[in-house]
C-alpha cells in the first residue's frame, strides 16, 4: 500500500469520488438569512411587476407605473436607512474622537497653550462635526444630543453652559435660517458646508469681499455674468449651500416686519456691542459681523457712543439678506483669522502676528517665560503629579470610552508612557542619591580635615535633608506608580506572551512557506536542466503546489516515509505516483524536451490538484453523511467509500448491525476479492479486525468452494485464523470439499475461532480414499487417521 490511513488524515485525499453511491445525496445549499431575504424581495418584485403589467389579472398602464414607483420608493427607503446608519456611525466616531481629545486637553496640564489648543480643537472638529465655528450649531436635535453626550461623558456644567452660550450668541434669524436649511437639506449638504468653510479662505481681505459683493449683486440682479465675474463668485456662490443660505436670508428679510425687527435689532444689538470700544480690531470685526447677521446696518450705526446707536438695515430685502450673508462670512473669516493667529503664536511661528488683546488671548508671559522659572515649574510639577495620578486611575476607562473599542493599543501606549515616567523617577532618585552621597562625603571630609564650622555644618545638613526629602517624595510617587502599573504589567505580560505565540506561529508559517518556495525553486531550476531525473523531487512540487509543507511521517510507518521522501525522485516518477493515486496523468508529457518549459507541467499539476481536492471534498461529504446519518464510525465510513470507489464494491450496514455486500461484487474473481480483504484487514482499518471484515469473510465462507469463499479462506489462512497459517491449506480444503460429494461447504470466522466444514464418517472414508496425500494439518483437523 502506498498511503496508509494516516496519510489520508493529513489531507492526502486519497479517497476518491463516490458519485454512484446513492446513499449520500448532495446536501441542499442553505442560503444565509440575508440572501433568503434578498431572494424573497426579488420574488416579490417580480410578482408585483408582472401582475401590474397584466400577465396575471387586471393589469394596466397605471397599475404598472404605480408598481414601478412603489418598488423604487421602497429601494430608496432602504438605502436611506443604510445611509442614516452610516452617517450616525460617522458622527458617533467623530464625537468620540472629539471627546477623547478634549479630555486629553482638559486633564493634561502640559499641553502647549491649552487655550489655543481648545480653540483649535473646536475649529477642527467644528468642520467635521458640521459645526460652523464657535457658535453656529446647525441642527437643534444635534445640539441637544451633543449636550446630552457631554453630560453623559461627565463634562462639567460649564461645558454645557458654554455650548448653550455659544448657540445663544447668535441672532435668532440667523440661527433659524441655518437650522431651516439644514433640516430641509438633510445630510446631503454637509459636504458643501465643509467646502464653503474651506473656500472662505479665498476671501480673506476686504477687496476680495467687495469683489464677491459685486458678483452677488450681479447674480441676484440677473445680470449676465462674464468669465471673470463667474470666477469671482465661483468659490462661494457656486457652493449650493451658500446660495441656499443667502436666498433664505433674503426670504427672512422679505417675510419679516421691519417694525418688529427694528426693536429687536436695537435691543439685542446693544447687548452685543458691549465692550466694543475697548475691543481689539479682530474682536470688533466679530461684533460687527454678528450685528450684520442679525440685520443691523453697521455703517449707519454708532457703536462707540454710550448708549450705542444700532441702525437696522433698511431697503431692498435682497440687499438686507446679502448684508446678513456678508455678516456670516465676515464672522467666519474673522474667527478663523483669530484662531490662526492664536495657533501660530502658540506654535511659536516666526513672524506670527501679535495676538489681539481680546478676552481669549493667551497670556503672553506664560509662553515666553524660561522653563526654569521656579514658580512655574513648581506649578507644572504639582499639576503634573495631580493630573498623572488622575490619568492613572482613570486611564483604562477613559481609553475604552474614548477610543470606541480596541482599547488595547491605547492601553499599551499608555503603559509605555507610565513606565517611562517611572523610569524617569528612578533615574532621578539615583541622581539625587549620588548627589547626596557626594555632599555627604564632602561634608565628612571637611569635618576630618578642618575645624567644624557651625554655619557650614548647618548648610550641609539642610542640603542633605532637602535631598533626602526629595528622594522620599519620589519614592512615594514611585510606590503610587507601581501600584498602578502592577496590574498593567500583568496584563502586558499576558499580551506579550500572546504576541510571542503569534510571532512564533508566524515565524513557523514563514519558515514553512520559505521551505516550500525553496522546493519549488529547486524543482523549477531542475526542470530547466538536463537530465531531469534525479534532480527534481516530484513530491516536493506536489506538496508545494498543494499549499502545504512536506509532512513529517509517523516514525513507525516506513512505507510512508519512503514514499514521501525517497519516493519517485524525478518527474516521471511523480507521474507514475499520481496515476497510482488514481489520478489520470496520462496526458502529462514528461519527456525531457517538454519539461524545459515547466510552466505547462505546473499548470497541469495545479489543475490536477484542484481536481483532486474537489473530489476529496466530495468524498468528505459522503463520509460525513455516512457518519452522521448512517451512524458508521469514521473508519467504517472511509472503508465503505473506499470499497465503492476503488473496487466497485457496494456495502451497507443493515438495521440489525450486520453488513451486506451488495450487487456488483465480482465474487468470482479471487484476486479482486483478496484485494477487498486486504483493504479491510490492512488498509483503512489500521490492522483492526472489525465487524465489517468479519461480515465480508463470512459472506464468502458460506461456500468455501466458490471463489469468494476461497479468497476468504485464504485470508483466514493467511494469518487470521490460527492454525490455518498456510494459504495452501485453504486451496487444499477447497479442493477436497468440492470433490467429495455431500460435504458441507460453509465455514465461519470469528476472531480466534474458525469453524471449518466437518465431514461425517462416510465422507472421511471417501477423503482418505481419494486424497491419499492429504496434508497432516487437514487430517488432524478432520480427525482422519
Amino acid at each position: 500500500m502506498l498511503f496508509p490511513s494516516s496519510f489520508v488524515g493529513q489531507k492526502e485525499q486519497r479517497l476518491l469520488h463516490f458519485a454512484e453511491s446513492g446513499t449520500s445525496p448532495e446536501p441542499v445549499k442553505q442560503l444565509s438569512p440575508e440572501l433568503q431575504k434578498l431572494s424573497g424581495n426579488i420574488d416579490e418584485i417580480r410578482t408585483k411587476l408582472v401582475e401590474a403589467a397584466g400577465r396575471i389579472g387586471d393589469g394596466s398602464k397605471e397599475n404598472f407605473n404605480t408598481a414601478v414607483a412603489e418598488i423604487t420608493e421602497e429601494r430608496i427607503k432602504e438605502l436611506t436607512k443604510d445611509a442614516g446608519q452610516a452617517t450616525k456611525e460617522l458622527d458617533g466616531a467623530v464625537m468620540n474622537s472629539y471627546l477623547a481629545y478634549k479630555e486629553a486637553i482638559s486633564t493634561d496640564t502640559n499641553f502647549p497653550d491649552k487655550e489655543a489648543q481648545t480653540a483649535e480643537l473646536k475649529r477642527v472638529y467644528g468642520s467635521v462635526l458640521h459645526v460652523f465655528e464657535d457658535g453656529m450649531h446647525f441642527h437643534e436635535d444635534a445640539r441637544k444630543n451633543f449636550v446630552e453626550r457631554l453630560k453623559q461623558e461627565g463634562f462639567s456644567p460649564e461645558d454645557s453652559a458654554e455650548m448653550n452660550t455659544s448657540l445663544a450668541a447668535f441672532p435668532d434669524g440667523v440661527k433659524e435660517a441655518v437650522v431651516d436649511i439644514i433640516e430641509e437639506a438633510g445630510t446631503a449638504d454637509y459636504e458643501q458646508i465643509r467646502e464653503l468653510i474651506t473656500d472662505l479662505g479665498a476671501f480673506k481681505d476686504k477687496a476680495a469681499q467687495t469683489t464677491l459683493l459685486m458678483a452677488v449683486q450681479n447674480r441676484l440682479a440677473g445680470v449676465e455674468e462674464t468669465k471673470d465675474m463667474k470666477n469671482n463668485v465661483r468659490k462661494i456662490l457656486d457652493n449650493p449651500f451658500a446660495m441656499k443660505l443667502l436666498k433664505r436670508f433674503i426670504e427672512i428679510r422679505s417675510e419679516s416686519t421691519l417694525v418688529e425687527d427694528r426693536e429687536k435689532i436695537q435691543r439685542e444689538g446693544a447687548a452685543i456691542v458691549k465692550g466694543y470700544a475697548k475691543a481689539s480690531q479682530e474682536d470688533r470685526e466679530l461684533i460687527e459681523a454678528r450685528l450684520m447677521m442679525m440685520g443691523a446696518d453697521v455703517k449707519q450705526s454708532d457703536l462707540i457712543s454710550d448708549p450705542p446707536k444700532i441702525v437696522p438695515f433698511e431697503g431692498d430685502p435682497k440687499m438686507a439678506g446679502f448684508n446678513r450673508f456678508m455678516g456670516m462670512l465676515q464672522f467666519a473669516l474673522a474667527y478663523l483669522g483669530k484662531i490662526k493667529g492664536l495657533w501660530d503664536k502658540a506654535m511659536g511661528k516666526k513672524g506670527a502676528e501679535a495676538a489681539p488683546a481680546g478676552s481669549t488671548t493667551p497670556d503672553k508671559t506664560k509662553e515666553t517665560q524660561p522653563i526654569a522659572d521656579d514658580q512655574l515649574m513648581k506649578e507644572v510639577r504639582e499639576k503634573g503629579y495631580t493630573a498623572t495620578h488622575k490619568r492613572l486611575t482613570d486611564a483604562h476607562d477613559a481609553d475604552a470610552k474614548a477610543l470606541n473599542g480596541d482599547p488595547t493599543s491605547a492601553d499599551v501606549s499608555k503603559q509605555v508612557g507610565l513606565m517611562k515616567l517611572r523610569d524617569q523617577f528612578k533615574a532621578d532618585i539615583d541622581s539625587l542619591a549620588r548627589e547626596q552621597k557626594t555632599k555627604s562625603d564632602a561634608f565628612e571630609e571637611a569635618k576630618k580635615t578642618s575645624k567644624p564650622n557651625e554655619a557650614q555644618y548647618e548648610t550641609a545638613k539642610t542640603e542633605l535633608e532637602k535631598a533626602q526629602k526629595k528622594i522620599d517624595d519620589n519614592n512615594v510617587m514611585i510606590e503610587k506608580l507601581n501600584k498602578e502599573i502592577e496590574p498593567r504589567e500583568k496584563s502586558e505580560q499576558n499580551l506579550k506572551s500572546q504576541i510571542k505565540q503569534l510571532e512564533d506561529a508566524k515565524k513557523n508559517t514563514n519558515e514553512q512557506r520559505r521551505q516550500v518556495q525553496i522546493e519549488i525553486s529547486k524543482a523549477f531550476e531542475a526542470c530547466k536542466e538536463e537530465p531531469l531525473k534525479e534532480t527534481a523531487d516530484g513530491f516536493s512540487i506536489f506538496g508545494a503546489l498543494n499549499g502545504r509543507a512536506i509532512v513529517t511521517p509517523p516514525s513507525d510507518d516506513e512505507e510512508y516515509l519512503q514514499c514521501t521522501f525517497n519516493g519517485p525522485p524525478h518527474l516521471k516518477g511523480m507521474k507514475d505516483t499520481m496515476q497510482k493515486l488514481g489520478i489520470d496523468a496520462s496526458d502529462w508529457d514528461v519527456e525531457e524536451k517538454n519539461l524545459k518549459n515547466p510552466s505547462a507541467f505546473v499548470k497541469s499539476l495545479q489543475e490536477t490538484m484542484a481536481k483532486l481536492q474537489r473530489r476529496a471534498s466530495s468524498e468528505e461529504k459522503t463520509i460525513n453523511d455516512l457518519v452522521e446519518n448512517k451512524h458508521l464510525t469514521f473508519d467504517e465510513a472511509k472503508t465503505v467509500v473506499h470499497l465503492k470507489q476503488e473496487h466497485g464494491i457496494p456495502v451497507e450496514r443493515q438495521p440489525d448491525g450486520s453488513w451486506k455486500f451488495g450487487v456488483g461484487m465480482d465474487v468470482n474473481n479471487v484476486e479482486s476479492m483478496m484485494k477487498v480483504a486486504d483493504v479491510l484487514a490492512f488498509g483503512h482499518m489500521e490492522h483492526t479486525i472489525t465487524k465489517l471484515l468479519i461480515a465480508f469473510l463470512n459472506e464468502g465462507l458460506k461456500d468455501v468452494t466458490k471463489p469468494l469463499g476461497q479468497s476468504a479462506l485464504r485470508q483466514i489462512s493467511g494469518g487470521l485464523g490460527e492454525p490455518w497459517r498456510d494459504p495452501k491449506l485453504a486451496d487444499e480444503m477447497s479442493t477436497v470439499l468440492t470433490t467429495i460429494e455431500g460435504m458441507p461447504k460453509a465455514a465461519s470466522y470469528e476472531p480466534f475461532d474458525v469453524k471449518i466444514p466437518m465431514p461425517n464418517d462416510a465422507q472421511k472414508a471417501a477423503i482418505k480414499a481419494q486424497f491419499p496425500e492429504l496434508s497432516d494439518e487437514l487430517k488432524t483437523a478432520w480427525s482422519i487417521s
Binding site: D82, V94, S97, P112
Partner: protein, 118 residues
C-alpha cells in the same frame, strides 16, 4: 532632553461623503438601467405611451431582472459603504491618538526640567 514638542496639528481626516437614499439609488441604478433612475421615472409615461399590453409585460420582465441586479449591487454598495465608514473610524482614531499624545512629550520634558531644578 526630550524631543521637541510635537505639533498637535495632525490633520483630522474629513468624513467620507455618504450619499442619501435617492443618490445611492441613482448611482447604482444608473449603470443597470438609466430608465429606472429617479429622474427618468417621470419620463416613462411619455416614452411608452403607445406601448401594447404584451410589450408592457416584456418590459415588466426586463425591469424585474434589473431590480434583481439592483438588489445584488445594492448589497455590494452597502458593504463598500460599511468598509469606508470603518476605515474612516480607524483613520480618525489614529489621528486622535496622535493629537492627544502630544501632551505626553511635553510632560516628560517638563518633568525633566523640574528634576534639574535644585
Amino acid at each position: 532632553m526630550a524631543d521637541p514638542i510635537p505639533a498637535a496639528g495632525t490633520p483630522l481626516p474629513l468624513p467620507p461623503k455618504i450619499p442619501n437614499g435617492q443618490e445611492a439609488y441613482d448611482i447604482i441604478m444608473r449603470d443597470i438601467n438609466p430608465e429606472l433612475t429617479s429622474a427618468n421615472l417621470k419620463t416613462l409615461d411619455a416614452k411608452y405611451k403607445d406601448e401594447t399590453p404584451e410589450q408592457r409585460i416584456k418590459r415588466a420582465d426586463r425591469y424585474a431582472k434589473d431590480f434583481e441586479e439592483f438588489a445584488k449591487r445594492s448589497k455590494a454598495f452597502k458593504d463598500k459603504q460599511d468598509t469606508t465608514v470603518s476605515s474612516y473610524k480607524r483613520q480618525l482614531r489614529t489621528a486622535t491618538e496622535k493629537r492627544a499624545g502630544s501632551g505626553d512629550a511635553t510632560r516628560m520634558q517638563n518633568l525633566e526640567a523640574s528634576f534639574s531644578t535644585p
